[in-house]
Amino acid sequence: MSRKLYVNTTINGEEIEFLCEPRQSLLEVLRDDLEMTGTKEGCNDGNCGACNVIMDGVLMNSCLVLAAEAQNRNISTIEGLATPQGLHPLQQKFLENASLQCGVCTPGFLMAAKSLLDHNPDPTEHEVRHWLAGNLCRCTGYDKIVRAVCDAADVVKETA
């Protein structure tokens, strides 16, 4: 067995250290070692977006990032989206719009949408669809997801 690597990183604002094998993905370490199972695995080959996290401001499929690459990075996961004060407007609008059915793709969609609003606070419907095209949802037909993201953008703009 290969030697484990030491990694020091920041996840949801907290400094975290872990040991990992060189072959482990960030997704695997998040879920199996750090027990942060909010980030979901759908395909493990970068084609569904269920494992989306934001790393140094960039939206990533965490299944395509090696855990060792997390060294000195700043990572946001679904577990950090809400605060003790309440849900993020995206989460609130997903609930109000009934944007989830089974909910397993939801964390990935929320992180992708968060990344969108960070880059573009006033997206058109087409821009929302274009940005979220890396995320698969099989339950909703996307209608209510797109509406929730547009609604949340309005809230974020008002409170900015």
Partner: protein, 766 residues
């Protein structure tokens, strides 16, 4: 954003039903806290992996697991030899499919033959997933490769390679004794077919083919098992039905159901695919050998190659009509690719094929055919979409030939109360006509479509919906809330729709109900989440439980007032003393006194309703634009109309309609198992192309409410019928756009492009 959703809410009769509260499990699901099957983690847990056949058809001469077993970190390896001896065979019936125990057993660990690429051969448990994967590469299997067949028509031929030595055709329910890949041949007859065609002024007849498609749930199959030394086995899994997993697992392992507890975790999609067991028995065997919990999660490739697909089909339909467009005769020959083991939804296909129309003379022949593909599973309205594609295309052709509006011809022939279907069933009150009328009246249909290469199509679909067994137990809390334990796993918001029906009876706000999904040890027997049955049947159980709570609380109020039970009545959420109207207790007030009134109040609803044959009808409108240079189809606008009976939570009814529409669009245009040399070549989400949000417009919905005649709130299941008409509607729209009829699904760009070229060539030639 264009597009609106419209509904006729609750027929105005209800307080809670028809509103849109936030789902009880919502916060957990938007914060990442909800625990799905894939999220299981137990102390000392081992990771399992499955070795799968690379060949579509081969005899297993031998398996050598010694090198794998010797790898550091590997704790156990199992093959079919480790299964307990097969007991008596049993047919397990689970709502949308029947499962023969011997077939389930051969499917989860192959015996002497592998029957498809991806067939499970051995299972390994190791201290890490990576070690388990390495171990798989060390297992040596000696295969004798056999000829394979993956095409349904080819598999039916006399000289086709046979999958099972002992399979003989069941001809109209009787064993024909004839060895064949045709597992069964069923037939429905109505009226006088020859007379019907003889009286017809116009007859159309065509052949259609549809490819295997997958349910495409985002969460992979998984199971975590812990088999303790006291003989008690616990399975945590993502399933549509915990009791079904219990029955199958116990049957395969040869132990009583009471020894198996199944805990249904949150489930990341199912659509019919998470009914059979694929992993629980192997995880259990590995746990027994190692004394540790074992978790197995499929890779996405395994999910495609080893689970699910809905049957590919060959469908030949002949329709006859008179000059006015009245359908007089209909004939269908339907062959479904069951996969490696019998059990495709051929019965459902044969029932659904002419279900939308009142046709006096009919004949339907259905064939269940085994071939070298994974065992097929239910997929949303199983069997209905394939046959609908054929019939709805031909109805469109008749309308065109007679110069009729496509909705008018459907209204002229629409199924109605009292009509006898080809399978003999007679419809009660149904909403087929209403969905057509709403579609015709919709702004979408009333707005002309303009522009080159653009077209509009319509189609109507049907699914029969199930009733069956459900249990709900309600306990009243002293703060006036209610804990609701129910047995239906929640795939799309059913905790909300069940709780709302409970709340309606007692005049409580939806938020006062705390619904929970029970495991097989904590709730009464409940059939799986499927057949569009949960809001109908488990909702009905909630209604019964609420009425029992109400009856008990009336006795408690009588006790409180020291009055006779007959003197207490329940009105608008309050308990009232009949002769002294000053005495009035709200549910919450009475609940706060329960501790002094003889203790706990628990109500149970245990039901087994017959849903009848009414089912749910859908009509959809599709506007498309075809790129003549590439054959690519863009969906410009899409509207789905469905009869929901009564919409309990309209947002989740719309959600079912929109989700089914998107799956139907994917089936129509992109999705297929692409085979070469018996092997699936596109087993990933990159190459198996499901619709993304960039491929779809907003999906407009119209909820029609023609109440179910028996259900206490008039609910009809809404989960499935929306997937049925989109392929035909899109095919009709493509014809309207570029004048070519597509008869094979998916309607890929290359097929449309070729059809356009052929049409051009034909035009030039004439």
């Amino acid at each position: 954003m264009s597009a609106t959703s419209t509904s006729v809410n609750g027929n105005g009769k209800y307080k809670v039903i028809g509103t849109r509260p936030i789902r009880p499990d919502g916060v957990d699901k938007v914060t990442g806290r909800a625990l799905y099957g894939i999220d299981m983690n137990l102390t000392g847990m081992l990771y399992g992996q499955i070795l799968r056949s690379p060949h579509p058809h081969a005899r297993i001469r031998g398996i050598d697991t010694s090198k794998a077993a010797a790898l550091e970190g590997v704790r156990a390896v199992v093959t079919a030899k480790d299964l307990p001896p097969a007991g008596a065979d049993e047919v397990i019936s689970l709502v949308e499919g029947t499962f023969r125990l011997t077939h389930l057993r051969s499917n989860i660990l192959a015996g002497d033959k592998v029957l498809y690429q991806g067939h499970s051969v051995a299972a390994v448990a190791a201290t890490s997933l990576h070690i388990a994967e390495e171990a798989l590469r060390l297992i040596e299997v000696d295969y004798e490769i056999l000829p394979d067949v993956v095409d349904v028509v080819a598999a039916m031929q006399e000289d086709a390679p046979l999958l099972h030595d002992d399979l003989t055709t069941q001809e109209f329910g009787e064993d024909s004794g004839k060895k064949s890949n045709i597992a069964s041949h069923i037939q429905f007859k109505l009226g006088d077919l020859e007379k019907g065609f003889a009286e017809s002024d116009i007859i159309v007849e065509e052949e259609f083919n549809t490819a295997s498609v997958h349910q495409g749930y985002i969460e992979s199959h998984n199971a975590t098992a812990e088999w303790k030394t006291d003989g008690q086995l616990t399975v945590w899994t993502s399933t549509q039905g915990a009791f079904g997993v219990q029955k199958q697992t116990a049957g395969i392992l040869g132990i009583p159901v009471s020894k198996v507890k199944v805990v249904p975790m949150e489930i990341g999609g199912g659509f019919g695919g998470k009914i059979p067991v694929y992993l629980a028995p192997q995880a259990a065997l590995l746990s027994k050998l190692t004394g540790r919990a074992v978790k197995i999660v499929m890779t996405r490739t395994d999910v495609f190659q080893s689970t699910g697909p809905t049957p590919a089909s060959y469908v030949k339909v002949k329709l006859g009509a008179d000059k006015t467009g009245k359908l007089l005769a209909a004939e269908a020959n339907i062959a479904f690719a069951a996969g490696a083991f019998p059990g495709s939804p051929i019965g459902a296909g044969a029932v659904c094929v002419f279900s939308c129309y009142d046709i006096p003379n009919g004949l339907v022949n259905g064939y269940d055919v085994v071939l070298n593909k994974p065992r097929s599973a239910a997929y949303r309205a199983p069997g209905s979409t394939q046959v609908n594609f054929a019939v709805e295309t031909l109805v469109d052709e008749i309308a065109e030939k007679l110069g009729m509006d496509p909705i008018e011809i459907r209204l002229l022939n629409a199924a109605e109360e009292g009509m006898r279907r080809v399978d003999g069933a007679v419809y009660p009150r149904i909403g087929c006509r209403e969905t057509l009328e709403q579609a015709r009246a919709h702004e979408h249909y009333q707005t002309p479509l303009t522009g080159p290469h653009r077209g509009r199509g319509i189609a109507t679909g049907f699914w029969m919906n199930a009733g069956l067994k459900s249990t709900v137990t309600a306990s009243v809390n002293e703060d006036g809330t209610v804990n609701l334990m129910e047995g239906s796993t929640d795939i799309g918001g059913s905790r909300a729709s069940i709780a709302m029906q409970f709340a309606e009876v007692l005049g409580l706000p939806a938020e006062a109900i705390n619904p929970m999904v029970g495991d097989t040890s904590s709730v009464g027997y409940t059939e799986l989440t499927g057949g569009s049955r949960v809001t109908f049947a488990t909702g009905w159980a909630a209604y019964e439980a609420a009425n029992e709570v109400k009856r008990i609380l009336i006795t408690k109020a009588a006790l409180y007032w020291e009055a006779k039970v007959e003197e207490v009545r329940f009105e608008d959420g309050d308990f009232i003393h009949a002769s002294d109207p000053e005495k009035r207790l709200s549910f919450k007030e009475l609940a706060s006194h329960l501790v002094d009134l003889g203790g706990p109040v628990v109500g149970t609803g245990a039901v087994d309703p017959d849903s009848g044959v009414g089912g749910s009808f859908t009509t959809c409108l599709a506007d498309v634009e075809v790129d003549p240079e590439t054959g690519k189809v863009k969906i410009l606008r899409f509207t789905m109309v469905q009869d929901a009976g009564t919409a309990i939570h309209p947002s989740y009814v719309e959600g079912q309609m929109q989700g089914g529409s998107a799956q139907g669009i994917g089936w129509a245009l992109n999705e297929e198992y692409f085979y070469s040399e018996g092997r699936m070549k596109n087993a990933s989400f990159l190459d198996y192309r499901m619709p993304t949000c960039l491929d779809l417009p907003m999906i407009e919905t119209v909820i029609v409410e023609v109440p179910h005649p028996q259900h206490p709130f008039g609910v009809r299941g809404v989960g499935e019928a929306s997937i049925v008409p989109p392929p035909a509607a899109i095919a009709n729209a493509i014809y309207d756009a570029v004048g070519v009829r597509l008869r094979d699904l998916p309607m890929r760009p290359d097929r449309i492009f070729s059809a356009c070229l052929e049409k051009q060539a034909a035009t030039v030639a004439t």
